[in-house]
């Protein structure tokens, strides 16, 4: 799994004023639903940094202006050289002494230019220096807000979404925003200033030539729009094939064993090839079309260049323009294309950034868990008396899952929850710990409605050992100590001993300091369960929630787990998702669940006497009398 992070962020060239590859032109752009509103909200985020942004804006503009002045001034120098050259020729023709070039003037120009360029570079550096922190701090804050928001959202939210979906908002989307703030924004500023500045400078040299350059603008637009239109269908086809291909690959790999068992490798490969070929066809066309944008842009730019050379040349012969001005003009017209293309590009980038921001804001706007009441209590010494009174519950509004549930559990009792897989046995757990809110009735612990207890206090009464053994990327010691914040080393080791985990931990080369890797694949499934039991023992809760299912565990470990669980249950109120007959038979109360709701409850003997669902279940799972074995 360590690779689903590979969500290719195409970072442009760092600090690139020259603009990255042109790949994004012509690709369909993702659009935000509410562009204006999202933009306004995003701007709000930037407000604390407003002075810095202003400063960045000013320095970026100044830097651009200073560098734009360059060619014009240099043109003056070149003109002077040209004039000097003319004077020389005249002198030579007239047979007079050949005058030297006006080096005092030229050296002045050179010094001015050096000064200009240094100032421009300084401002540009200043701008990037300030910007370095601005964007990063903004997205830091945004990430932090999202994380805090996640911790306040009810579990319902997480059930309805895949982890990938949520992760992608915190990483890809926020990253997208970060890149835009970091690069595109200043690029946009410099591009706009450049466009205006260049036009002004060109006008000051020759309005007619400027007009010619501006006349090439529609050509750029025609090229861009035509290409964007032409490529859209291929990009769409490419995207579609890519989706199909990913689907096929996922399915084929997930079902690898079945593909092999039924000898379907060839057919699968043939299907793959068909889609791969489609992807290739669409892909190279899309790539080709977006690949010709650059050459065509260059053609238009060269067209302008040639026209300027020719007309400028003709003008020069009539002394309507100086040579230096032609040089300056050529430089300006070359500088003109870049920012225009870039602005078009950035417009697209901003669109997709706003779409990203919208997704992030959507998450920030989700409805939160009901906050703890102000007068919520803390139960200092809970006894573990649990009572359901007329509890109704449903995940979705329409279908009611639990209706009028009344259960009374005395301290220290064991409640077995049984039912086929997928019967919703975890529903009860979710309700007890107030991961979900019940619709009607109330749940009492030691006579207090759980909604009147602080969530923290309520949840600290519980210990959980679930089948999905969640451990985090840290040492074994830290993972056990997760059960209680202030646990000492001795307590942790004692808990591990009580959970029969001490022995296996000691056999690991690093012992308690063994770092569990990302999927905790360096210890076995059963060992993981022992660790979660140790964690629960350390937490020392009054009420336990246990899942007995022990899948893929070797028999010796299983025996340990069983023993540890039994010891753990001593003297605590326990809700057990039961799989062992002994547990079920010894339970004070059995809750039989099917399709999400409690359908029967009672003791083992009572339920057997009823001869209904439980009896069926019991017979099919634990006895063989009524089964016809093949």
């Amino acid at each position: 799994m360590s690779e689903d992070r590979n969500t290719n962020k195409e970072k442009g060239l760092p600090g690139g004023k020259q603009g990255g590859p042109m790949g994004s032109l012509g690709k369909p752009v993702e659009k935000a639903k509410n562009f204006k509103g999202t933009l306004r909200r995003l701007v709000q985020y930037l407000k604390p940094q407003r002075t810095k942004f202003l400063f960045v804006f000013v320095t970026a503009s100044l830097s651009t202006i200073f560098s734009i002045l360059g060619p014009k001034i240099m043109g003056k120098g070149v003109t002077k050289i040209g004039e000097g050259l003319g004077a020389k020729m005249m002198a030579a023709q007239a047979g007079k002494a050949v005058p030297s070039l006006d080096f005092t003037y030229i050296s002045q120009i050179v010094l001015i230019l050096i000064g200009l360029y240094i100032i421009s570079a300084a401002f540009s550096y200043l701008q990037q220096y300030i910007m370095a922190g601005v964007a990063q701090k903004t997205v830091y804050k945004m990430r932090k807000e999202v994380d805090e928001k996640l911790s306040r959202l009810p579990l319902k939210f997480f059930d309805a979404r895949t982890h990938g979906e949520i992760l992608s908002r915190v990483t890809n989307d926020i990253d997208n925003i970060s890149t835009t703030l970091q690069q595109s924004l200043t690029q946009l500023i410099t591009s706009l200033v450049t466009i205006i500045g260049v036009i002004v400078m060109m006008l000051s040299i020759s309005p007619l030539l400027t007009l010619i350059v501006i006349l090439t603008l529609p050509l750029y637009m025609v090229v861009t729009i035509k290409i964007a239109k032409g490529s859209q269908q291929h990009f769409a086809a490419q995207q579609k094939s890519l989706g199909e291909l990913n689907g096929l690959v996922e399915e084929a790999y997930a079902g690898h064993k079945i593909v092999k068992a039924f000898g379907r490798e060839d057919e699968t490969f043939a299907r793959f090839n068909t889609i791969n070929e489609k992807l290739y066809q669409a892909g190279y066309k899309a790539q080709f079309i977006s690949g010709i944008i650059m050459p065509l842009m260059r053609l238009v730019s060269n067209l302008g260049y040639v026209i300027i050379c020719v007309i400028g040349g003709v003008f020069a012969t009539r002394n309507m323009i100086s040579i230096g001005d032609i040089l300056a003009f050529i430089q300006y017209s070359r500088q003109f294309t870049q920012p225009i293309v870039q602005t078009a590009n950035i417009a697209n980038i901003i669109q997709s950034t706003i779409a990203s921001a919208e997704r992030v804001f959507e998450l920030l706007d989700e409805v939160e868990e009901v906050p703890d009441a102000i007068e919520a209590k803390i139960v200092p010494f809970p006894k573990g008396h649990v009572r359901f009174e007329n509890v109704d519950f449903s995940y979705e509004e329409e279908e009611e899952l639990l209706k009028k549930i009344n259960v009374d559990v005395k301290p220290g009792n064991t409640i077995a929850i049984v039912g086929p897989t997928g019967a919703g046995k975890t529903t009860l757990v979710n309700l007890l710990m107030r991961f979900y809110e019940i619709s009607n009735g109330r749940i009492l612990i030691d006579g207090i409605d759980i909604r009147d207890i602080k969530r923290g206090s309520l949840r600290s009464m519980f210990g959980m050992v679930l089948q999905d053994t969640w451990l985090f990327n840290g040492t074994i010691f830290e993972n056990i100590a997760y059960g209680r914040e202030d646990a000492t080393e001795e307590e942790v080791i004692n808990a591990a001993k009580a959970a029969h985990a001490h022995h296996f931990i000691k056999t690991l080369p690093e012992g308690y300091n063994t770092i569990l890797n990302e999927e905790a694949s360096n210890i076995s499934q059963g060992q993981k369960q022992l660790l979660t039991i140790a964690r629960a023992i350390l937490a020392n809760p009054v009420i336990l929630i246990l899942d007995e299912a022990t899948s893929s565990v070797d028999s010796r470990t299983e025996a340990y787990i069983q023993k540890a669980m039994t010891e753990l249950m001593q003297g605590r109120t326990s809700f057990v998702i039961a799989h062992r007959l002994s547990t079920i038979r010894d339970a004070e109360l059995i809750l039989v669940m099917n399709q999400g709701s409690i359908i029967e409850m009672g003791t083992h003997n009572e339920l057997l006497a009823k001869k209904s669902f439980y009896a069926d279940l019991y017979n099919s799972q634990f006895t063989g009398t009524s089964i016809e074995v093949v």
């Binding site: 990063q136 579990l155 690959v249 050529i330 897989t421 070797d554 089964i627």
Partner: protein, 575 residues
Amino acid sequence: MVKLFRLLKPFTAYITAVVVLLFVQVISDLYLPTLMADLVDIGIVNKDINYILKTGGFMLLIAAGGTICAIIAAYLSARTSIGFGKIIREKLFSKVESFSLHEFDKLGTATLITRTTNDVNQIQQVSVLILTMMVTAPLTSIGGVVMALQQDISLSWVLVVVIPVLFTIIGGTLFRALPLFKLMQEKLDKLNLVLRENLTGIRVIRAFNRKEKEKVRFDEANADLMQNAIKINLIMAALMPAMMLIMNLTTVALVWFGAIRIDSGAMQIGSLLAFIQYATQILFSLLMLVMLFIVIPRAQVSAVRINEVLETNLDIKDPVKPVTVTDGKGLVEFKDVSFRYPGADQPAINNLNFVAKPGEVTAIIGGTGSGKSTLINLISRFYDTEKGSILIDGINVKDMSQKGLRAKIGFVPQKTVLFSGTIAENIRYGKQDATLEEIKHAADVAQATEFILSLEEGFNHTIAQGGANISGGQKQRLSIARALVRKPDIYIFDDSFSALDFKTDAKLRAALRPEIEEATVFLIAQSVPTVREADKIIVLDEGIIAGIGTHAQLLNNCRVYRELVASQLSEEEVG
């Protein structure tokens, strides 16, 4: 990366053409300033408007020619780079398809998927960049130098000074920044890791009231990431301004020293203008080239991961001359079979000997980790035995082709896997040329007909990816039907009735009996009731056979079996 480039062989002609075309295009681009120099030096100085127009027309022609070359090059390079991606993808997929379970598990499904999709796309994108910018940039700088030299040789010393300075600054910056770029990825991973743990462990975190602690953990990773990013930005902040400054100062220097040369009559003014433009072009393309090198390490990571897959040696290969059996009935024999997972100290299966006959049900029982599923996987040769041999109708499975072997087996896995497609297609997966009658019959036996007909479009109902739109029990019944339609000699039911409710289970078993009467049937189970009426029960315990026999026999002579029974059945039911 370089290893992958070998796959580009079929495109050699294209690539050569691309390089040639781009070279022509670069030359044409570079030729323009020279023409402009002529236009100035001859046309303007002599006030020859005709010459100016003629040169202008020629320049247009050159520009157009260059564009045509560039367009053709774009076409060929698109076909090459996208085709390159296609070939890698194809190679990867076919390689992974030939993996045995062992090779497959070694890498893992998730990463194999990423490698076949994302990583290939990454390589494809970089090859696009290489075939366009990375070809043009050096060509432009070389061409630029040549052209600049033609204009004036002695001014070139300016470039000789500037280029090393440029490289030093870029090199110095990258030297400091690249390690940070790498760290960036690590810090991003760390942040993702914390976040993912927060998502997967949400119940535990809330149950143990550790929200605050997790918040701190996230914040640490978040702040760490931010600080690293700021550090990079601060380093990179100086780069672009410095580059621009160098380029601008180069131009200024050229004007100054050019003026001196013009003054001495050694140079024309048009040449100076052309030289300045060449110098800018050279410096820009060098800059571009260096920047592109930043992309390479990222693609390198992908390339390494792709190569790892492509270079994995297959440990299960078909024999050169596979033996085919047509008249067999499906007699399965295990002779001294041992197997251990790679790297394990203990064999998962140790010295197994038994015979499973056609017309009999052979049940295999044992706790988790006792080796039941391993045994099954060995029959289908998903793994190869370490010692001993498995014979089917007297022939070693290693002497058969894998396809031929598996064609004899109808396998119903523990974890149901269906494919997207219609229900009929899913059942037909077991037998490609199955008629509708056969499919319907198989569904009947598997007790699936009733629910299939209740669905919209019945057998043509489309199953979503992973079978998300039908229930676990329904999936399991389709999986059974898929094996039944095959009418194989050997059936393997690997804990295949777990998701069925009691009544369906009973009906299914009754319907199944006549269907599989003549076949060799393996029935893997955790619980005693499922197996107690089998013809033969094999009790596995930590990889060895603890007992073989009928229920009654085993109760008498097998301690492990008695323990299993005692833990699952109540006293009165044992007898």
